[in-house]
Amino acid sequence: MSRAQFLSVLSFLLIISGLAVGDARILVMGLPVALFLLAGAWHAPHGVRLVADRQLSAERIFSGDPVTVRIRIRNEGCDIKELSLEDVLPDRLELVEGSNRRITQLKRGETFEWSYTLTGKRGYFMLHAVKAVAREPLGLSVSPIILPTDGQLFIVPPVLRLKRISIRPRRTRIYSGTIPARQGGSGVEFFDVREYQTGDSPRAINWRLSARHPQAVYSNQYDQERVADVGIILDGRRRTTEFGAVSIFEHSVMATAALVDAFISAGNRVGLLFYGKQIHWTMPGYGKIQGEKILHSLSKLEPGESQVFNELFIPPRLFPSKSQLVLVSPLTPDDFPALSGLRSKGYSLLVVSPDPVSFEASSLPSSEAVSLAQRIIRLKYTLFLRRLKGIGIQVVRWDVSQPFESVARREMERSPVMLRGVSNQV
């Protein structure tokens, strides 16, 4: 009940009870209450016109970084004796310094400005309203207004810098990069020898082989290094990412951001497919702008219920067969047909699996039953990963209690030929 409503009820009660019992003094007691109401109506602000303007120190920040919000309110209407202001913030943003609420006086033509600092977790936030309440000095007449403002804030996941991710898709693009193209030419890694041809560098001559076969001169060929198409698939299905009140999804997002950065830095053509509540594509592209596009997409993604993974479809126009796919998913055994289907279409597949077993176990109380259940599920999970390894999928199991950089350094910087499937932890 507002203040004016309360005083109205009180004054009516006094009048009615005074009339009912026929006591003039009770009626008289209603007079000061009615006077309060009269004063409220008398000084009520009329023609309130406010204009709000919002400035953010940055529209894109990393998760946990602070951003300063500066709000300016200009009064283009009548004098306001008491003005309460509140910058409406989404739930997932937190105040670091200052306050998003203020109370002030604002005369016609005056401007009031204040700033505060906030931070938040990954997400895309629209900041488009300042709630203003104009009151007269006794606070009885209230005029609430919503002031529209511009403002959006991308809080992108932290990007871990990975030195190199060793992938070896069977199909590469024509531009030079860091991925062995299985074609002889100039490069670093030895590929083949061939008979010397005019134009070959004398430094490329394989003197040892030429000495063994004096009828010809042979020159070394090196594996050409090219860029590749890399499609990253982020699994946001609730049934694989959420375990009661805890979710592993943020870890998956962080790993995806690190992988995107590493592949983009190596000059590859990278696209992102999010598989959660709905399928969301970030079209493949090159360069820093593409990296930024993918980070923006990552900031908006939320896990959700979805149909089974079997319906996963990779448009060949975007990622032709034999290109590289990277799946970031805690995985379930039901995913095997979909993954083997991708493999049979010729895609090179790298699976980064944030370990759901140890993650869920860390949130459960330790008991014998939990320990036994964990062992059983761990066995099933390990067997599933070995099945994936058996069909030629490179699998990286990531225990999320370990830093992703160290796991990536250990498991992904080496050549996939050396890895041949699941890591030695499995």
Partner: protein, 164 residues
């Protein structure tokens, strides 16, 4: 500071009603007033914004009962005014917490006290005038005046609530 004033006024308002009841030989009403005072002060300390209005309502109910029982008019009216001021200041102090000690706060406090003071003085004057002015009115005129006051008050309330 303002919160402290509001607490003192709350205690005084309950105290005045309680004293009037005790002086008039109504110890049970005095105990109720004492209980209201405790709850109201506790509400202030716990910053329960919802407690102020019910407390004022209870004080006014006690006050009306006291007037009906012909207890001390002066104490009861004083209690009513103190309760109203205490109620107003407790809400104002919670609103003022948003100002974060800025210079605007001083102007806000000054303006608020000015308007509150004018209202209280006008209210006291009106009450004194009403209590001392004895007009002889016919029943028809009385009914007419009552209807007019209710209509006027209704319009006032409608105007105030329309903006919310």
């Amino acid at each position: 500071m303002i919160r402290s004033i509001a607490i003192v006024l709350s205690v005084l308002a309950s105290g005045c009603v309680g004293s009037a009841c005790l002086a008039g030989g109504q110890p049970w009403l005095a105990i109720i007033a004492f209980a209201i005072a405790i709850i109201w002060v506790f509400g202030h300390l716990k910053r329960w914004g919802w407690v102020h209005s019910p407390a004022v309502l209870c004080i006014f109910i006690l006050l009306s009962l006291g007037l009906f029982l012909k207890l001390s008019t002066g104490l009861l009216f004083t209690s009513g005014f103190l309760a109203l001021i205490g109620w107003d200041l407790s809400d104002f102090s919670s609103r003022l917490e948003l100002s974060k000690g800025e210079e605007h706060a001083q102007n806000l406090i000054k303006d608020h006290f000015l308007h509150l003071g004018i209202n209280v003085i006008a209210g006291v004057g009106l009450v004194l005038l009403a209590l001392n002015l004895h007009l002889r009115l016919t029943l028809g005129a009385l009914i007419g005046l009552s209807i007019l006051s209710v209509w006027g008050l209704g319009r006032l309330v409608f105007r105030l609530l329309k903006k919310e």
